[in-house]
Amino acid sequence: MDEKQRRVDEVRRESTELENHLIDEYVNRKISRKELMRRGTAVGMSIPVLSFIAAACGGDDDDDGASQTGGGETTAGAVQPGGTVRVALIQPTTEPNPLLVQDEGGAGMLGATGEYLSFSDENLELQPRLAESWEPNDDGSVWTFKIRSGVTFHNGAPMTSEDVVATFEKLINPDGGSANAQSALGGVLSAGNMEAPDETTVVFNLDAPNGNFPTLVSSANYNAIIIPADLDPADWGQTFEGTGPFKLQSFTPQQGATFVRNDAYWGDKANPDTVDVKFYAEEAPMIVALQGDEVDFVEHFSVAGGKALLDNPDVQVIAIQTATHRQLHMRTDKEPFTDARVRQAIALAIDRNALVDGLWEGLADIGNDSPFAPVYPSTDTSVPQREQDIEQAKQLLADAGAEGFTVQLDTWDGFEIPDLAQLVKSAAAEIGVTINLNITDAGTYYGDGVYGKSPWLDSVMGITDYGHRPVPNVYLTAALAGDPKLGVWNSAHFKNDDYDELVRQYVAALDVETQKGVAKQIQELLLEETPIIFPYFYNFLSAAKPNLQGAVSAATGQFDLSKAGFTA
C-alpha cells in the first residue's frame, strides 16, 4: 500500500457514488483518459483530482480532441504581454440580447464579456468558471452548484447565486424566454424549480434525472451567460454587462465591437489589452483579411471557403471535432421509402470516404447513420461502419421490388448542402435511382417549421443542417422520436416503439458504461431502419496568425482570448 494508493482511496471516500462509478470504469479500462476527464468534469470532479486519478490509476494517453495543422505546433512561453488581438467574426443577425441570440456571431458577442457557470472546451470537458464545482444527488435529479464568491460584474456589483437563479429563470420563462436555451433545457428544468439557499449555492431541481445537466447550463448553451438579476436582457446590448476577463469599450451594430481588459477580473487577468472584433457578412473577405494581415484570428471558416488557409504554412488552423452534421431524411411513411431495404440501398450507394475527403479535405468524421458522432464518449465505436456497396444496394432494391424509381430531394442553398445533394444524386444514379433536386432558399425550405407547412418536415426526401450539440439528446428525440410532442423535427416521420424506449433509457442513464450499452442498441437499430442518413460530422475550424498563441474557440461560436498573446 503505497502513498499513491492511499491518496486514491482518500479521493474515493470523498467521492459520490457516480464519481466512484466513473473511477471504476477508468480503472477497468472501460473508458479512456480523455473520457474520464470529460465525464469527470461533467459530474463535478475537479481537474486536479481527475488528473491525479488518471495518472495514479494508469491508462494510456490517447489522442487529443483538438489538433493543429498548417503552422504546426509552436513553442509556448514566449508570449508578449498586452497587445491588441483583431478578430474576424460573422455578423450577428440580431441585437445582442441573451434571450434572442440564436446564431454564431451573437454567441460570440455574449461570450466576449459574459461568463457561464462552466466553459465547455474543445475536448467537451467542462472547466469551472462562475461555478466552482457541482454535484448531483444519487439519481441525478437534483444538482447543487457552488457559485464562486468574490466575483463582481463590470459595473462593480457583486455576482451571487441570486443572479444565477434570475438568469436561468429569464431563459426558461415560458412567456418570452430564450427559444434557443429552451431547446436544450425544455423537459429538463422548469421555471420556479431553482433555489438559492445562500449566496454561493444554487440548487436545480430537475423534471427528470439527467446525467448531462452541467453541460446543458455550460457555455454549450450559449445563451446562458450570467447577467445581473435586475438587468432586463433587452438592455444588455447597451453595456454588455458580465463578469468576464474583458469588458465592453464600444459596440457598433453591424460593424464591430471593441473590448478591453477587465482589471477587476476574479481570475488571471487577461493578457491582451484590447480585443477588436470586426463583423463580416461573408466568409471570403474574412479569409482575405487574415491573409492580408488585417485580422489575427478568424473565429470560424469552412473548408469550402477557406481552402487557401488549409494549404497555407503561414496560418495556424485550429480544428475541433464536433457533432455538426447533415441529415438526409427519407420519409418512412411515404413511397418509395416505406420499405427499410430501399432506405438502406440509398445509404449503401453513398461513398462516405469520398465525401469526407472531397467536401471536407478529411476534416470530418464519417457518419454511421445515427446521431452518435465519434466525438461523443457514449458512442459505441465497435458498431461496424456502413461502407459503400453498390452491388448490395442494387440487390436490396431488387428484393424490395423498387428498382428505377424517381424521387424529389428538397433542400436549401447554403454551406456545402447543394454539393452534397448533387453527390447524393450521382450516387443514387449508380443504383438506377433518379433524384430530382429542388434546391430553394432557407426560408422556403424551413417554411413555418411545423408539420404540413414546411418542406423540411413534409418532403419525401430532404437534407437538413444540424449544429453542434455537446450531447446527442436533441438529435435523438427531436429528429427521431415517434411521440409528436418530443419528435418535433421528425422529418423522416420515423415511428418505432423499441427506439423510443431505448432513447428513454439512454437519457436517464447516468454513467457512460450504461449509456454506451444503450447507444450500441440504438446505433444498430438505426442502421437497420435507416430513416436518416448521417454521412459525416465535420470539424469546427478556426484560423490564427502563426504568431498568435493561446486563442481558444468553442464550436458554439464563443472564443476565449484571455490567454492569447503574440510571440516576438
Binding site: 479569409i287 469550402a304 481552402k307 472531397g358 454539393d419 445533394a421 448533387q422 432558399d441
Partner: protein, 295 residues
C-alpha cells in the same frame, strides 16, 4: 457598364431619317461595320453554345468526380475541374444556355411593356402621362439591383421571378426613351394627317408612330440586354441565381472565388471571360446599330 442605371440619359438618336436612307441600305451599312461583325461573332458563338452546348461539350457538365476536384487545366480538362471535379470547359459551354434564356426574355418583356407605356403616355400626354412618369421616376430612384434583390427575397429565386422583375424595371427605363421619341413624333405631319382621317388612336400609335420609333426601341433593347446579363450574373454571384443544379456562370464564379487566393484561378477566370465576351459582343452590336441609326 451595366448594373449602373442611366434612366435619365436615354441614348440620343434622331428619329425621323428613314426618308433619306432606305431600310435596306441601313442594314447593309450595319453588317459591314467591323464592330457589328465582331459582336455578331461573339454573340453568335454563345448562342450556338446555348442551343447545342450539351452536344458540343466534351463531358457531362454535371458529372462530378470528387476525388479529381480542382485539377488545373490539362489535356483531359481544357479549363480544369471545379470543386466537385466537374469539367469547367463543359460547364462554361453549357452555362451559356441559362443566361441566354433569362436575359433576352427579361429584356424582351421590358421592351414590349416599356414601348407600350411609352407610346400611350407620350401620345395622350396629360394626367396619365404625368402620373405614370412620376411613378417611373420614383421607382428608378432605387438601384435596379436592390429592386431585383427585394423581389427575389419576396418571391424566392426562380427563373420566372428574375425575368419578371428585370423586365419590370427595364420597362420603365424603356418607357422613358420611347416616350421621348413619341413626343417629338406626334407633332409631325403624318400623325396630324392620320388624326384628320379620323383614325382610331390605337391605330395611330401602333401602326403609324411605332414603326417610326423602332430605331430607339431596337437600340434600347440591345443595350438593355447587356445590362440584363450583368444584373442576372450579379444576382447569381450574390447567391440568388435561379436553380443551383443548372450550370450558371455567375454562380460558378461565386462558388469558386474563395479559391483564387489559393492559386485556383481557372474555375473563376473562364466563366468570367464568358460573361465579359458575351456582354462585349452585345455592346458592340448595340453600338453599331446606334451608329447606323445616327447616320
Amino acid at each position: 457598364m451595366t448594373t449602373i442605371e442611366d434612366p435619365a440619359a436615354p441614348i440620343q438618336i434622331p428619329v425621323r431619317d428613314e426618308a433619306t436612307i432606305a431600310r435596306g441600305e441601313r442594314l447593309r451599312l450595319l453588317v459591314r461595320s467591323p464592330g457589328f461583325i465582331l459582336g455578331a461573332i461573339l454573340v453568335g458563338f454563345w448562342v450556338v453554345c446555348a442551343l447545342f452546348g450539351a452536344m458540343i461539350a466534351p463531358q457531362d457538365p454535371q458529372a462530378d468526380d470528387i476525388l479529381n476536384k480542382l485539377v488545373a487545366p490539362s489535356g483531359d480538362h481544357l479549363f480544369g475541374t471545379d470543386r466537385l471535379g466537374r469539367d469547367v470547359f463543359s460547364r462554361v459551354l453549357v452555362g451559356a444556355r441559362e443566361i441566354l434564356i433569362t436575359a433576352p426574355l427579361a429584356t424582351l418583356l421590358g421592351t414590349v411593356i416599356g414601348t407600350a407605356i411609352g407610346l400611350v403616355t407620350g401620345y395622350y400626354r396629360g394626367l396619365v402621362d404625368d402620373i405614370t412618369m412620376r411613378i417611373v421616376d420614383a421607382m428608378l430612384a432605387v438601384p435596379v439591383i436592390i429592386i431585383a434583390f427585394l423581389a427575389i427575397v419576396a418571391r424566392g429565386a426562380s427563373r420566372l421571378t428574375i425575368i419578371l422583375v428585370i423586365g419590370f424595371v427595364f420597362s420603365m427605363i424603356i418607357a422613358k426613351t420611347v416616350r421621348a421619341a413619341v413626343l417629338s413624333e406626334r407633332e409631325l405631319d403624318y400623325v396630324q394627317a392620320a388624326r384628320l382621317r379620323n383614325e382610331r388612336s390605337p391605330y395611330i400609335m401602333f401602326a403609324e408612330i411605332l414603326p417610326n420609333v423602332m430605331g430607339p426601341v431596337v437600340v434600347e433593347f440591345t443595350v438593355r440586354l447587356g445590362y440584363a446579363i450583368f444584373t442576372i450574373a450579379t444576382l447569381a454571384f450574390l447567391g440568388f441565381g435561379a436553380d443551383p443544379s443548372i450550370p450558371d456562370w455567375g454562380r460558378d464564379i461565386e462558388q469558386h472565388y474563395a479559391f483564387i487566393n489559393g492559386g485556383i484561378w481557372w474555375a473563376v477566370l473562364f466563366p468570367s471571360l464568358a460573361i465579359a465576351t458575351l456582354i462585349v459582343g452585345i455592346n458592340l452590336i448595340a453600338d453599331a446599330i446606334a451608329q447606323t441609326f445616327e447616320r
